[in-house]
Amino acid sequence: MIPVSWYLTLAAILFSIGVYGFLARRNVIIMFLSIELMLNAANLNLVAVSHYLTDLRGQILTFFIIAVAAAEAAIGLGIVVALFRNKATVYADEIAQMKG
């Protein structure tokens, strides 16, 4: 059986990639993808621990996270589409009308 620490390490790596991607990439769509990676890192953690502890709470939370992430993606893409209609860009550096 694969030890639980492997899953946790994988989740930590995924989370780090997500945070790095969010901070380093400037394409809004890629930033969304990075956030999804972070959420999935949390999901992986929860499911691995839940299985290890034979406790169902973690898996329940994972289901909710998956559902909420879907809603979040819909809203995020909706916002990007509205923005793209007005400014025709998806690069975060060019979306800087308000400053100070």
């Binding site: 989370f15 956030i35 972070m38 949390a42 169902l56 923005l83 007005n86 100070g100």
Partner: protein
């Protein structure tokens, strides 16, 4: 599988306010679909529903329960108090919206529906006794507010504000969830009371990984309440959002986030106070400094109020720092007062908004005392209150927060807070100077509307009333606390 609970159908009566508002939210969408041109009844429906919700909250105030749905949902006086603040925020927002939406020609019916759903999210959040429920409430609130911020679809500033708010909000949710998953991994539970028990049982008080996890939760909530150094999104989101939504964001979601932060830290991690205390003190100090100092250079009044709201979040953190009943009741009192004074200030901004000017620039306030003395006098009261000058409520709010932090031994932080509070007088009173010391350029009168008048009267009664007779709110607030600090 020792944790499988007995599944008993919980009586739903205690949840009446939440259920009512969910039905109201759905009803508003349907009514909007079928009424078409008669949309002007939507705000009335929303206001009526919110008032009924407030009434039901008051009605249910005798029946507290600390464990609906297998202990996941608490009804206590603490959550009740914050629910009242949130609903007052919604009520104000509805009153502010009618005129604004007309001026901006924004006639989406989902506006009020989203507002009501955001309120439900906040109510779920403040009642959550379990991380799962907390997360769901938080997201229901956040997703609704992202939509509301971006609802001026043809305005690129609104799009930009929504995108920035959404990216930061989703990023902080990711951090929060990872923190929750680590805490779950170490304690084996998501229930806040149980977490606190397991921390002592399993001797986790000195575990580095637990600090990291708690740190992540703290970072996530610093994003949500716009505390420095995680405040960058707030000025942009506040400036670009429709003005009533800006007012709503600075009152409702902020109060709910503080309620949750208080519950997590004081009921889930009280043993770790030695570790998170200095951290919160640092964040509070940095937040007050950033908010107050950056507000000085703003010429857009919405943006100035955004920085002011950051600064006020810093003041409110002092109450959490105190970790005493005194501190928490001071936060509750402050959030209520802040709701009234901030809503009042935003009502004036919306009043000045018409087709030619947005009422957002400082120069729009030139000579307001001549063209509209009543509006100028009201703005004067709200600005005094935001600065914290007696006899307005703002003074009382700050006074009790500072007192609580002082009694907890954070004298240095309080001294800094008082100095920064004096700095804030500069930019609040600058608005007063523009209104009273300059001549008006055009001298046009300001149009009023019944709902705006009602909001202003309500706000000014709150600001003066809570300033002159503060005792009963504090008493109500402190009554609610034994439940929290068990």
């Amino acid at each position: 599988m020792d944790t499988a609970p007995n599944f008993i159908l919980t009586p739903l009566a205690p949840l009446a306010p939440e259920l009512l508002l969910i039905c109201l939210g759905l009803l508003l969408v349907v009514v909007d679909l079928f009424l078409g041109e008669k949309r002007h009844i939507l705000p009335w429906l929303a206001a009526l529903g919110t008032l009924t919700g407030l009434f039901l909250l008051g009605n249910g105030s005798g029946h507290f329960s600390d464990g609906l749905f297998g202990g996941m949902y608490i009804l206590d006086a603490y959550s009740l108090f914050f629910k009242v603040i949130c609903l007052i925020g919604v009520l104000f927002t509805v009153m502010l919206s009618v005129r604004y939406l007309d001026t901006e020609k924004m006639h989406q019916g989902e506006y009020y529906s989203l507002l009501v759903f955001a309120a439900v999210g906040m109510m779920v959040m403040v009642s959550a006794a379990d991380m799962i429920v907390l997360y769901l409430g938080l997201e229901l609130m956040a997703l609704s507010v992202y939509c509301l911020v971006g609802l001026l679809k043809s305005d690129s500033r609104s799009n930009e504000a929504a995108l920035k708010y959404f990216l930061m909000g989703a990023f902080s949710s990711g951090i929060l969830l990872y923190g929750i998953s680590l805490i779950y991994g170490m304690t084996g539970t998501t229930d806040l009371q149980l977490i606190s028990q397991r921390l002592t049982e399993l001797n986790l008080a000195d575990n580095t990984l637990l600090f990291i996890a708690l740190g992540m939760v703290l970072i996530a909530f610093s994003f949500k309440v716009a505390a420095a150094p995680f405040h960058m999104w707030a000025p942009d989101a506040y400036e670009g959002a429709p003005t009533p939504i800006t007012a709503f964001m600075s009152v409702g979601p902020k109060a709910a986030s503080f309620a949750v932060l208080g519950r997590i830290l004081l009921s889930g991690f009280p043993e770790l106070h030695v570790h998170w205390g200095p951290l919160i003190a640092g964040i509070a100090l940095l937040t007050m400094a950033t908010g107050n100092i950056l507000a000085i250079s703003q010429t857009n009044i919405k943006r100035m109020l955004a920085y002011s709201s950051i600064a006020h979040a810093g003041f409110a953190l002092l109450g959490i720092l105190a970790t005493s009943n005194e501190g928490v009741s001071a936060i509750m009192n402050y959030m209520l007062i802040y709701a009234f004074m901030n809503m009042g200030a935003f009502a004036i901004i919306i009043m000045l908004n018409n087709r030619e000017r947005r009422g957002e620039q400082l120069k729009d306030y030139r000579g307001l005392a001549q063209t509209n003395p009543v509006a100028a006098a009201l703005m004067l009261i709200f600005m005094f209150s935001l600065t914290g000058i007696p006899p307005t409520a703002g003074f009382i709010g700050k006074f009790y927060l500072f007192l609580a932090a002082m009694n907890a031994g954070y004298t240095g932080t309080v001294i800094a807070a008082v100095i920064l509070s004096a700095v804030s007088a500069y930019y609040y009173l600058r608005v007063v100077r523009y209104m009273y010391m300059y001549d008006s350029e055009k001298g046009e009168a300001v149009a009023m509307s019944p709902s705006l008048t009602a909001a202003l009267i309500f706000a000014v009664i709150g600001v003066i009333g809570l300033g002159v007779a503060p005792g009963w709110v504090l008493e109500m607030a402190s009554q609610s606390l034994p439940a929290l600090a068990q």
